[in-house]
Symmetry: C2
Subunit: 103 residues, 2 copies
Amino acid sequence: MILHLVTFSWRPDVTNDDVAGVIEGLSSLPDQIPELLSYRFGPDLGLREGNADFAVAAVLDSSESLTAYLDHPEHVRIVQAFLAPLIASRQAVQLEIPPDSGL
Amino acid sequence: MILHLVTFSWRPDVTNDDVAGVIEGLSSLPDQIPELLSYRFGPDLGLREGNADFAVAAVLDSSESLTAYLDHPEHVRIVQAFLAPLIASRQAVQLEIPPDSGL
């Protein structure tokens, strides 16, 4: 199983409405992409100084499922329309997690 | 519940042995820090171009539990001894996840 993680820092001019658009868009994906065994995302809670602004965490069963998610037309559309314009910096990692586990 | 995510990019001179030291150190933490309801970490799988190098994902039940983990002497020791010297860049996010959920 693969845990796919992405952290984002936003550009300084990003608004709450911009972020709400990202959240609404991402919220529609699990129903359309069955490869997403788990899908968590959201804004940083503001608990720690120096944090990034937003993160996505997905569990998938294989690298093929990861590709199916990343290349899914609706994912691509939401990234291009809502997410990409907000990004100042981004770090992605995929790591191995034990079979049948969540996070 | 809080999902704590950190992505790391390593300095160019980091070796596999350096990363093995990080993994060994982090592996010892769940037995010592009961606040860690789930603790996943590891190197990037190398599936995608441009990824960062390593990530940590932890589930905790509250901001107090997050602080207990971050400030735990053994966590601090492992970060200082094994992790911090390898870091070129780092992005951390804490986000809200539903009660009693994993990732």
